[in-house]
Amino acid sequence: MNSRDLVLGRLRAALAGGGPAAAGEVPRDYRHTGTLDLDQLVQRLTDYRAQVHRVAGHAVADTIAAILPAGATVVVPPGLPPDWLPTTVTVRPDDGLDNGQIAAADAVVTAATVAVAETGTVVLDGSPDQGRRVLSLLPDLHVCVVRADQVVATVPEALARLVPHRPLTWISGPSATSDIELNRVEGVHGPRTLHVIVLA
């Protein structure tokens, strides 16, 4: 008997011997949607130490120019809108950069797929304007641009919008830990600074 059959056989025997399993219908009477509130997104992101900028669509480049020092090296996914990037920084599009090159960059700029207002979360799904997962991981500063129509109120709404088989990264504030005396401290292995630009 191979291990697959052994494990499955044990589990079937356990269920057969343990009497009828009490599995009823799952009650789904929790909230599925909520009232969308961009102020709440900003407040929740800020609460977990993300720096939030609410700007008009044409002002993204100026906002990024104000965040990053002149001459900073910025890695970007191949499909990022070019007009988001200021001329003051050195842009490295990801055309197969190696991990060392990505880690050496000062910052990364990406778009997002969904943002959740109640939890202060942005979700990346590897689309061309968000790039490979490593891109938003190794640089110490991440600028994430969210369009207003990508923001939802609740977690159930976010999951409904996501495509499961894409590689997904849910980000709620900069890298943090609660491992020292259970106090939240920002800044361990992921980007220690997170800027979220919310487009009005």
């Binding site: 291990s3 343990g18 599995a23 009477d29 880690a103 088989h165 106090n183 800044g187 292995h189």
Partner: protein, 476 residues
């Protein structure tokens, strides 16, 4: 003659992993209770987390409905576990992953060791995972000449301190910042002696220490918080970004998960992604959650192995009441509210699963005889049941397990003698007089004589009254 029934539910084998302590809970607890530093650290940490968690749970108007949904999803999972695992296997395989089945800790360790060997790597980076602690994977890898590097900050503190984890979520909860600084100075080469014990400074040192290891290690090992049968998607919930590093940078990813971690549908994540962060770290959402389905060309590990582990879970499933311990999503809320855990810490429980959930899970995984003292490591106050985000009735399980645990012969003899005496009024009166005499004889405060001293070893014997109720009634 022993006959082994292949395919019958089996407990976790002894001699491997960390599900059994080396001594009973009361003696281990006594040592913890005598450590004032440990008690200060635990008191501080559990008080902090309780307040944080209560705050973010109060923000959610439908918390009780989410709990009920979470419980119901887990009950459904267990009822359909074999078919859901087969579905998960099919979806993961279709997405380019390879699924392995492990009947117990030894087999899981062998599978992972062989997979790492096949890559030629002599080092793996690890995401914090309870299940790999449970099976003793680090020890098995080290024995095979493979260095396991724990990358979660608390696990790193435990590993560098040559210590044992003492909490599900924060394995180094028993260490305060000053102790952590000392461990780093001692065990990390090249750390500036001017390092302060500021948590931010300590975290920065861990970042620097592990960065090169992340970039140069070709194999990672993780656990899983959830695996979606319908889509084949795995999810890991974390804070620091060490999880993202391990799940993204290496060529090969090996994920070990207990069979009960499967959930039926993608939609089920909407319940658990709300319950878990608020119940565990007391956050609205943890900083990072990674989800992946098999292999994504051009993004992340190009080889993915999923190891599905039994190691006693089938035995837990076989008990109609006890199986609810398998609902556990490892949030550790029950530890944080437990008056016993808060005083003894996690080491006293022996198993990697401490606190109330450990007291009901470990004895079921190993068979009650091997963890007989754990069902008693509780005052049955019920705080754990109230705190559990998937509504595991831990007090009910504790009582059931106490019933199943072997009882000392003196206890049975004492109970039989008491029943005999209480059935006979004269004998009962004589016994009461004897107790009163003992008061005159000055036994007060010294507890009972052997063999009954087991009862008074951790309890005060009440002073017998000067007059019994029956005497008062007769003289009225």
């Amino acid at each position: 003659m022993t006959r082994t029934f292949l395919g019958m539910p089996a407990t976790a084998p002894p001699g491997v992993g960390q599900l059994r302590g080396t001594e009973p809970f009361p003696s281990a607890a006594r040592r913890s209770l005598a450590d004032p530093q440990l008690r200060r650290n635990l008191g501080h940490a559990t008080t902090t987390i309780r307040a944080k968690s209560a705050g973010v749970i109060a923000e959610v108007p439908d918390w009780e409905r989410l709990r009920e949904a979470g419980r119901a999803i887990k009950a459904d999972v267990l009822a359909r576990l074999p078919e859901l695992l087969e579905q998960l296997e099919a979806r993961v395989s279709a997405a380019g992953g390879v699924v392995h089945w492990a009947a117990d800790a030894n087999e899981a360790n062998r599978i992972v060791t062989d997979l790492v060997r096949a890559t030629g790597s002599d080092r793996v980076i690890k995401v914090k995972s309870m299940v790999t602690q449970e099976i003793g994977l680090n020890e098995a890898l080290a024995e095979a000449g493979i260095e396991p590097v724990e990358t979660d900050l608390a696990e790193l503190i435990v590993q560098l301190g040559d210590d044992r984890p003492s909490h599900i979520l924060v394995p180094a909860i028993h260490r305060n910042r000053a102790e952590i600084r000392e461990i780093f100075l001692r065990a990390m080469p090249g750390v500036d002696p001017a390092l302060t014990d500021e948590p931010a400074a300590l975290a920065a040192v861990a970042r620097g220490y592990l960065r090169q290891t992340f970039l140069t290690t070709r194999v990672a090992v993780s656990g899983a918080n959830f695996a979606v049968a319908e889509t084949g998607t795995l999810a890991v919930v974390e804070s620091e970004g060490n999880g993202r590093m391990c799940l993204t940078l290496p060529d090969t990813l090996i994920t070990v998960m207990g069979v009960e971690k499967v959930v039926p549908t993608w939609r089920d994540l909407e319940v658990f992604l709300q319950l878990l962060p608020r119940a565990s770290t007391g956050e609205r959402m943890n900083p990072y959650t990674s989800m992946w389905t098999g292999v994504t060309p051009g993004d992340g590990p190009q080889a993915f192995h999923l190891v599905l582990l039994d190691n006693g879970r089938s035995a837990v499933l076989a008990d109609e009441v006890g199986r609810q311990a398998l609902y556990c999503i490892r949030c550790s809320a029950c530890l944080n509210v437990c008056p016993v855990y808060e005083r003894t810490g996690g080491h006293a429980y022996g198993s990697v699963y401490p606190g109330p959930i450990g007291a009901v899970l470990s004895p079921q995984l190993t068979g009650v005889a091997d963890n007989a003292s754990l069902p008693y490591a509780s005052s049955l106050c019920g705080a754990c049941y109230d705190a559990c985000p998937v509504k595991i009735n831990i007090p009910e399980l504790l009582v059931q397990l106490r019933d199943q645990a072997p009882h000392p012969r003196t206890e049975a003899a004492a109970m039989a003698a008491a029943a005999y005496t209480m059935d006979r009024p004269r004998l009962y009166e004589a016994a009461q007089r004897a107790v009163r005499l003992s008061r005159l004889a000055g036994r007060r405060g010294r507890g009972l004589p052997p063999p009954l001293d087991g009862w008074t070893g951790s309890r005060d014997l009440p002073d017998p009254p000067a007059q019994t109720f029956r005497q008062w009634w007769a003289g009225r």
